[in-house]
Structure formats: structure tokens, C-alpha cells
Symmetry: C2
């Protein structure tokens, strides 16, 4: 049947509630009451405002719907049933089951889901990224609708998102906050103080509308007004958790609990029984995304021996890669440090300043990747720790994002430990499907930056503050997953492995050892993940398993771990001498700090000598 009038929508809302109960009760877990509070909102949206071609989920003209409150997945999947793309059978037997695409929280395994949610406060920041794409890149009139919970407004990331939405005038973004007043463990901080919410929203530059989230007419008008607004809109909807079933409605103790069978039966009766409406909502307006012309990428070339910081090479290379029209730059208000400014100067239309809001920085990248753009987000490596939950979630979203972290390690010198990334390699290596690149010179930094654009998943480039000699000629190639012999001879007695500044220290150590007639092989481990296991095995074989690995990072989880894991996985256990940052560093010169940390050339040479009994 066709759902058109608000009376039809009322039936649809009842169906969404019933189906949310049915599927969660069948699964034995899930969040029916959090679904029921938002069912009226979503029924109106689905039937009358979401312009979406359900048969063509990748139509660029489609609106976007993101459940920032991902635990309301029963409602979302019930909408998919009502849209005719998920069968009732799949909903009842698939929800939360092993191997099913109807996971406990939505993920983009489903073609109608843009991003994975379930860690609260992320769907709205992701939506800001999609809306940026719509307004500034695609230049299409699609709207981004985000359903938020009230509890998640306690996350600072929600305010980072609204701030950026207002700053960029994202009138194409509508957040719908389901203010059901009850969180997981009891009442939320603001309860039903809708005015308090509205005051915050308006103060952050967005348009706030307070409505009764169960009044279909009010909802309908609010959505229509939001669609015509000249600012991002936040619809604050007063709702009842568990709305529609008197035994749970507005009661504590029912968060995240499926109704037991007999209760579910009573609820379905109270809601008027099962229904199997199929809805055809509005169609997208059509149109095609703006085509951003692409030219040839001509990477910068560096003179052997010239001193160039890898962070500068990243920026210059990205400015070159920007010739590809889908590359986008995102800055965390430090682009003169990361050198993303090189890109910003070249392609200001495809550059977005996120200010000091690293969570939104990463989320914007995720949102842009939803629309097929190739985002590069850059800040100090240390400050990506601020966004770790977002990075972790983007792996679940199977997003393709590129992150560049500059100023890594004690090598930064006088600024001190707050600015040093000494945990970032461990953090990034643990992420599912991540790629980690850590160039030592400008040539490799540029080459790897170019390759990042074509690499799927979370791709992380670690750059160094200081300028060090260019080691490779401009035509050298760098395969992701490879390694370079920066120095070798048939007589090598020991292998020194490094990346970034520690590669330079390893080369200096090799020089020192050479004065004692000790031949050292030096391996440039520019690809930390995936790692070139064969190169490690070859080096071990050539130098009698004598290996020194040095990294400007704390001992756990970085280069040393990557090497140990590789040898272990290859079935060739090797004892490595592992030099990493010991103790809590302070300020000083790079040389003083590397000496104190135990990762200087002198330490490396000494470790090599000890391995050789020399």
C-alpha cells in the first residue's frame, strides 16, 4: 500500500514499533525501547521527506540517513523492511545473528548504511563530512539526516560537529535528537529540558526546533522547515522511551533489553498487531556530482643529500596529488606545521579547516569518503590520539581515509612530551586493516603520499619534524609493504633497522662501526604495516640473525613489535636488540633527547658491537 497521509504514516510508525519489538525479541537482545521513541520521527521521514531511491543506494543524488544512535538498529532495519529492501524473514531471523548483515549496530555491510555507528557521538560528526561533500564538492541538493540520542549530546564531539556545521553553513544537514530523557542507567543529564538543548544548539550557530516527537503533524512541518532552512537544523523532539507499550513506556530499567516473549505479544496487541506496509517515499531530485577535473600528478623531486623534512615533502607531494580532482585536504589548525598548507594554497576549494577538533577532523574524512572523495587529514601525530575512537570506528565503517601525523617522537625537541607522539604506531598498528608508512626522506615521503591516495582502509603516514638528507634519487620506487636496503654489502655482519629519524641514526651508526671495520647493513622499514617480512628474513640470514631495531616511540607496539611479529609469523624467531624511548622525556635538543632516550647513533653502534661481542 502507499503511505501518503499522516494517517498512513501513523500505521507505518506502529509497524516500525512492532517490528522493532519482534526482531529484538526474536534475537533475545537489542534496544526496542530506544527504537520506539524515535519511530514516529522516522516514519514521517521515511514516508515523506527522505529522498531516496532504495533500489539504487549509491545514487549520488540520494539523501543520507545516519543513525548516530546506532543502538536503535531495530528501528533502522524495520525502516529497511518498510522500504522493501529487507524481507520480514531476514529481519526476524537475521537480526544480531552470526553471519547476518543486520548487526547489533549498523555497519556499511548494508548498502543503505553510510558509516558504522554504536560508539555514540560519531554519526553526527560523520554526517558533517557527508554534508560538506554535498555542499562544497558534489554540489548536489541531497540532504543529510542524522538521528541522534539525547545521551550522546554529552559527548564533546557532538558540539565539535554542530560548530563545524554552522561554520560551513551546512543547511543540508538536519540532526534529529530523540529526547526520550532516559539513558542506559537512568535519567539523562538534561532530561526533558528541551529549552536547555535548544539554547546550546542556537549558541553553536544552528537552528533549533523543539517539537513533540510523537505529533506527526509537528514532525512533518519541522522536517519541511529544516529542508528549507538556511542553516543546519537540529530538531529537538520530546519523546517517550518505549512509546506505544504501556508496560515500558517512559520507565527506567528497559534500556537495551529485548522484551520477553509474553510481553512482546502484549505489546504487539497494544500496538494494533503486525503490519506489512511497504513505503515508497520521495525520490531524489536527480543530478550528477560536480566533476572536478583531474590533471597529471607530478611529484616533487629532491636532490640527493639535500636536507628536507618529510613533513614538507608530504605537503609538497599532496599539493601535487591534488591534481586528482577528488583529493581533499583537512587541517586541524596546524597546517603550517604539518605542511598541509601546500595543498591548501594549491586547492583552496578542496581544503577544509577543522580547527583544533581532531575528532571532527577524522569524522569529516570519514564522511567525505562516503561520497568517494580521497581525504587526507593532518595534524601532529600526538593529537591523533584524540581521535582514536573515531579511527577505530572508521575501520568498522570500512572507510578509506588518509591520516598524516607530523612531529613524531622525541626528535621534536624543546616542545616536550605533550607534543611527542610516542604511542601512535602502537595505536595505529592495532587498527583493523590499517596501513602504516614511516618515510625517512623526502623522496620516499613524496612517493608514499602519492600511493596513499589509492590505498583502501585507514592509511597513516608518520612524518618527522626535522630536515634530514634526501637518501633516494627521484626515480626510486617505494612499494607499500616493501623495505629498502639503505646500505648493504656482501660482508655485512649486523643489520640495523630504523625508520624516520632512527634510519638516519642507524646510518650514522653504520658509519661509526665502519671506522672499526664492522660492516653494518641498514634497512629502511618505511612500510611498518604491511611489513616486508622477506626483507627482514634476508637481512637476518645475511647477518647471522644479528639485528638492532631502533625507533623514536615507546617500546610497546611500534617498530620493534612489528619486526618481532614478522619474524614470529614467519616461524623464524630472532632475538633483536630493541632500542626505543625509555623513560618520560622532557625538553631539549633533538640530539640530547635521542641520546637520553637511548636511540642515538652511539647507542645503535654500541648495541651492534655488543651483538658482535666487539
Amino acid at each position: 500500500m502507499t503511505v501518503q497521509t499522516l494517517d498512513d504514516v501513523r500505521e507505518l510508525a506502529a509497524q516500525l514499533r512492532v517490528d522493532s519489538i519482534r526482531c529484538s525479541t526474536a534475537a533475545g537482545s537489542g534496544h526496542p525501547t530506544s527504537s520506539m521513541s524515535a519511530a514516529d520521527l522516522m516514519a514521517v521521514l521515511l514516508a515523506r521527506h527522505l529522498r531516496y531511491d532504495w533500489q539504487r543506494p549509491h545514487d549520488p543524488a540520494n539523501d543520507h540517513l545516519i543513525f548516530s544512535k546506532g543502538h536503535a538498529s531495530p528501528l533502522l532495519y524495520s525502516m529497511f523492511k518498510a522500504a522493501g529492501v529487507v524481507s520480514d524473514a531476514e529481519l526476524m531471523t537475521g537480526y544480531r545473528r552470526f553471519g547476518s548483515r543486520l548487526e547489533g549496530h549498523p555497519t556499511p555491510i548494508l548498502p543503505w548504511v553510510d558509516v558504522a555507528t554504536g560508539s555514540l557521538g560519531q554519526g553526527l560528526p560523520d554526517g558533517v563530512g557527508v554534508a560538506l561533500a554535498g555542499r562544497y564538492l558534489d554540489e548536489l541538493p541531497y540532504r543529510v539526516w542524522v538521528l541522534c540520542g539525547d545521551s550522546e549530546t554529552a559527548e564533546g564531539s557532538i558540539w565539535e560537529a554542530l560548530d563545524k556545521a554552522a561554520h560551513y553553513g551546512l543547511a543540508n544537514l538536519t540532526a534529529i535528537v530523540d529526547v526520550n530523557r532516559l539513558g542506559q542507567r537512568g535519567p539523562t543529564e538534561l532530561g526533558w529540558d528541551l529549552d536547555a538543548y535548544a539554547g546550546r544548539v542556537e549558541a553553536f550557530g544552528c537552528h533549533a526546533m523543539v517539537i513533540d516527537g510523537h505529533d506527526l503533524g509537528e514532525i512533518d512541518k519541522a522536517f519541511a522547515r529544516a529542508a528549507g532552512a538556511d542553516r543546519p537544523t537540529v530538531i529537538l523532539a520530546r519523546t517517550l522511551k518505549g512509546r506505544g507499550f504501556s508496560e515500558v513506556q517512559d520507565r527506567e530499567g528497559w534500556h537495551g533489553r529485548a522484551l520477553p516473549e509474553p510481553m512482546a505479544e502484549r505489546a504487539i496487541i497494544e500496538l494494533g498487531g503486525e503490519r506489512h506496509l511497504t513505503v515508497t517515499g520521495p525520490r531524489p531530485e536527480g543530478g550528477t556530482p560536480r566533476a572536478w577535473p583531474s590533471g597529471e600528478v607530478s611529484l616533487p623531486r629532491y636532490e640527493l643529500g639535500a636536507k628536507v623534512a618529510t613533513r614538507l615533502a608530504f605537503g609538497q607531494a599532496l599539493a601535487a596529488v591534488g591534481a586528482r580532482g577528488t583529493v581533499v585536504g583537512l587541517d586541524g589548525e596546524v597546517d603550517n606545521s604539518t605542511h598541509l598548507e601546500e595543498f591548501a594554497k594549491a586547492y583552496p576549494e578542496r581544503y577544509f579547516e577543522m580547527y583544533i577538533a581532531e575528532q571532527q577532523l577524522v569524522a569529516a574524512a570519514v564522511g567525505l569518503s562516503v561520497r568517494g572523495y580521497i581525504p587526507f587529514a593532518a595534524t601532529f601525530a600526538a593529537f591523533f590520539t584524540r581521535a582514536y575512537d573515531f579511527i577505530r570506528m572508521s575501520a568498522i565503517s570500512q572507510a578509506n581515509i588518509r591520516l598524516c601525523g607530523s612531529h613524531s617522537g622525541v626528535e621534536i625537541g624543546a616542545d616536550g612530551p605533550s607534543q611527542m607522539a610516542l604511542e601512535d604506531l602502537a595505536m595505529m598498528r592495532a587498527v583493523h586493516g590499517s596501513t602504516i608508512l614511516y618515510p625517512s626522506d623526502a623522496t620516499s615521503a613524496a612517493a608514499l603520499t602519492a600511493q596513499m591516495a589509492d590505498r583502501d582502509g585507514i592509511v597513516y603516514l608518520r612524518t618527522t619534524r626535522g630536515a634530514y638528507p634526501v637518501l633516494y634519487g627521484p626515480d626510486e620506487t617505494f612499494r607499500i609493504g616493501g623495505a629498502k636496503l639503505a646500505r648493504s654489502s656482501p660482508e655485512d655482519q649486523v643489520t640495523l633497522i630504523g625508520a624516520g629519524v632512527t634510519l638516519h641514526n642507524s646510518l650514522a651508526a653504520a658509519d661509526q662501526l665502519g671506522q672499526d671495520a664492522i660492516r653494518a647493513r641498514v634497512v629502511d622499514l618505511y612500510s611498518v604495516k604491511p611489513i616486508d617480512t622477506q626483507a627482514l628474513l634476508d637481512a637476518a640470514a645475511a647477518t647471522g640473525d644479528r639485528i638492532v631495531v631502533t625507533e623514536d616511540h615507546y617500546p610497546a607496539g611500534g617498530l620493534g613489535s612489528a619486526v618481532l611479529d614478522a619474524f614470529n609469523d614467519a616461524g623464524h624467531p630472532v632475538r633483536i636488540r630493541h632500542l626505543a624511548v625509555q623513560g618520560l622525556p622532557g625538553s631539549g635538543t633533538p640530539a640530547e633527547l635521542m641520546e637520553a632516550a637511548g636511540i642515538s647513533a652511539g647507542h645503535i653502534a654500541q648495541a651492534a658491537r655488543e651483538l658482535l661481542g666487539a
Copy 2:
């Protein structure tokens, strides 16, 4: 001389500017212009409002001063000089130098510094923790003054902090925002739109005051009003970056740059030359903190074989540990899941609900630890990734905080990957000086929870969702840094290592192997960091270096890495069979997901058989 009148304060402010320039120029780096904008604010505070006994920095009645804009360290250290606790010589020769306590960004190596700052948006959340201690625990009238930058208000964590400050009525907290309109790379998002800032502050429930940050009289009145306010106050001070030196004042391009010598000389002349005033500001009111009585800790006792979740044991043990009057509980709105609610019920006066704001959750713990309390903060293990920057910084703060992360790994089942912590061990292991505990049964979980209270640094306890058999009797002891032989015999052929649910899987695997007459030793690696290297060496020696390590975590940086690192550090390389979560998990039952991840008892037994060629 005594600084009393506002004319005296004007001289003091000039001295602070001059000294900020002198020390940063001497160091060749630093942020003089960011110091100069706030010099008038801090001069008034130091001379007339900060009630602080500089000779007794640990006097509990002292006010607290936190530089959330840590890069203004030249200003802070110049204040220390003016207070007479740092000499001019130390300031000129120490700032940013190796081995000096005057680091590039402040750290608590200095007795007058509460917390490390430099990652923006953290000092204010930390200050909320100190103010919570003052109002609710110490019950002392000290005030917490936090100097913030304007750029850092883009961080969501600032709004988490103001939200909680208002929620808890922290009238003892004053944030002073130095709105100098220029960030690192150019103008800030809101520039000098002080009204926009004020609107946000008021909307978040705090009292906003807009002032001219260079008008000493206005500043003085604002501080006096803040001290008498009934709400937290945010003073929004319009300032000029580089104020006082015409060549840089209000100009772009001077962030984070020391003035070259000739410019510094001209600046000092323009500012009226060097001064060496010493200030004696107001004294603390005196008083002693409320004494919270302590009783005997009587830990819960569990029956061998009873099925009890470690998360429940944590909660019950913490309720017991709460008999110690300085233990405090902090919840991220999930205490019915983490079971922190057991503590909340027992000690509601020492329990703080932080709602879903994990950054503020950790920052509150840091702030409470400043005042010597023993905070335990709990949320889902996955969601501590949200606070990684705060955790990293708390290590630099040398804070003593305890974190409990529940619902770790694919074992959680149907909720899916957004709720699974599969990176937390890697993240926590990388942190400097961290301790990581991962109990497998209720007895060990309770015993370790009790020991956490006396452990310094960042102490992380990982708990499991499901209920598994109690393995140890109530009198068993668990040393941090130890391990247990959960099963052993003189004839063991292979060692199975696990923790949490994988210890139970390893025990089940040992049973399976026993049916084939294969004797397996099982090691309970409940202390992941520090690790019991000797126990690992002993097990390796006893079982011919045949070792299977299994973890409910992604492959990089967790248990497997900890074991490999330990063997490597001991100079005894061993090839381990390492079973960890492969691929991106979905929903399912715990058994299905562990099977799919490759960490089930069957997988462990199979790996052991392969090691034995069986």
C-alpha cells in the same frame, strides 16, 4: 617590592611580558606572543586573587592554577619568578633546556603545576576534577583558576568540561579565556566574537563575563565577581596577541616563534625594560580537608566453580575497597554494565556520574588524583579509546588513576564490533609507566581491584562481559607482575597462555588435548604489564619452547606482543603460536564469534597439536 595597587600590577604585567620574551628568546623557541596576551590577566590574578602559599605548594588550602593553554609556559614560569620560587637565572638558562624542569609545556615536575598540559582542551577538564574534589570531597574553599586559549574552545572536551562544571555547581571553578583571536595558523573560528563565546558558555550553564583583557580594573572586578559567583564562571577576555610590542601585536605569523635577539631588545625597551619585582599575593584561607573515615576492606569471596563475571567482581570488590575513604568512583553512564554501580550504591557521596563523556571521565580522575584521591573510572573498554589523548597526557602528569574497561573483545557477542575493545591492550601497553591487569576469574579480579588502589601511574583493568567459573579459592594471592599456573604437571608438553576469556578457552583446550593424552600447561597471564618473564621462561623450558598464546584482541600490541617482547628482552627468542582476532567481527553468540575469530578452544588445541606434530 610589594605589588598591591593596580599601578603596581601594571608593572608586574610588564615584567611578565618582558620575562616571557627574554626566556623564549634565550631558548630560541617558545610562545612569547601567546604569553603576552594573557599577561595582564595573570598579573592581576597573581597579585590579588590567587590565594597560594608559594613556599608550601602542597598546602591543601591553596588555590589551583592550571594553564590549559600550556604553550604559554613562558608566562607561567615568569609568574613563578615573580612569586620568588624560580630565579631569574633559572628562567633564562633553564627554559626548554635539556634536564631543566622548565619544560616547553608545563609538567608537574614543578611543584606548583598540577597537571601536564600542551595537548589543548585538557587543562579545563582536569580543573573540573580538582574543583569536584574541592567542593565535594575536601570541602575546602580553594578556587581553581584555569587559563584557556581561544583556539582550544574548538575541542569538544572544553564543552564536556563546562557541562559537568555546571551540572555539579562548581562555583569554585573559574575559566579565563584569553581571546586573542589568532591561532597557530591564522584567525580563530570565532575571532573576537565575544558574544558568541558568551552565548555558548551561558547555554552550557556557566556564568559568562566579557571583559577587556588588558583593562586591569575590569579584570580585577571580574575575578572578584567570579570568586563570589554561585556558578562556575568563564571570563572571556578580549586580548591582543603579542600585546605590548608594536611589531608583533595582533599580527599573524608570530605564533610559537621566539623573537630574534634584536627584536627582543626593542620589545624590552618598548615595555619599559627589565624589572625584578617579587609578588606576595593573597594567602590561602587555611583549613584542612574533610577526613573521610576508612574502615577495613573485606573483599568478596567467591566459590570455586561458581560462574561470576569479572566485571561483577570488579564492582563488588570496588564497593569493598570503598571502605578506604579516599577511593572515588567515576562512571561514564554505563555503571550497570561495568558494575561500578556496586560502588555507587555503597558510597554515593564519593561517586560522580560523568555521563557519556569519556574525555571528561578520565580528566576528572586526573583532577581528583591531584588532590590525592584514589579515582576509579569505568566504562566499556572500547570507549576508553575516546580518551586516549587524556590517558597519554595523564602519564605525563604522573597522575595516579585507575581505569576499568568492561565488555572486552568479541566475547561480548551480539552487540557487534563497535562495542568490542580489540585495540585497548595495545593502546594501554604503549602508555609510559602503565600497568595492565586482565583477570580471568572473580577471585583474581577482586584481588587485583584492591591492589590497583595502591598502584601508582595509569592502572588499567580489563574485564569480560560473560560469567565464567571461579578458578581460584578466596585466599589465593595475585601479585601485580605475576602469573599463575592454572594447570600444570611435570609431564607438560605444551604451554597455553591466555587471560580473560581465552584462559577459559585454553583450559578447555587442555581438556581436549588431555583426551589425546597430550599434557598441556596453562598459564594465566593476568598481569599483562608488568609481565612475569620468569614464569614465561619456566613454562617455555618445561614444555620445549612450545607455546600457544591466545587473546581476544586484534593481533598487534596485545598479549602476544607482550609475550614476544618478554622473551626477546630476556634474550630467549621463542616462536609462539599466536591466536588473535582475525578479520572484522560482526554479531553472533560469544561462541560463534570466538570460533570465527580463531580463538576458540578448538583452535587452541589444534595449534598445540601442530606444535607437537600430532
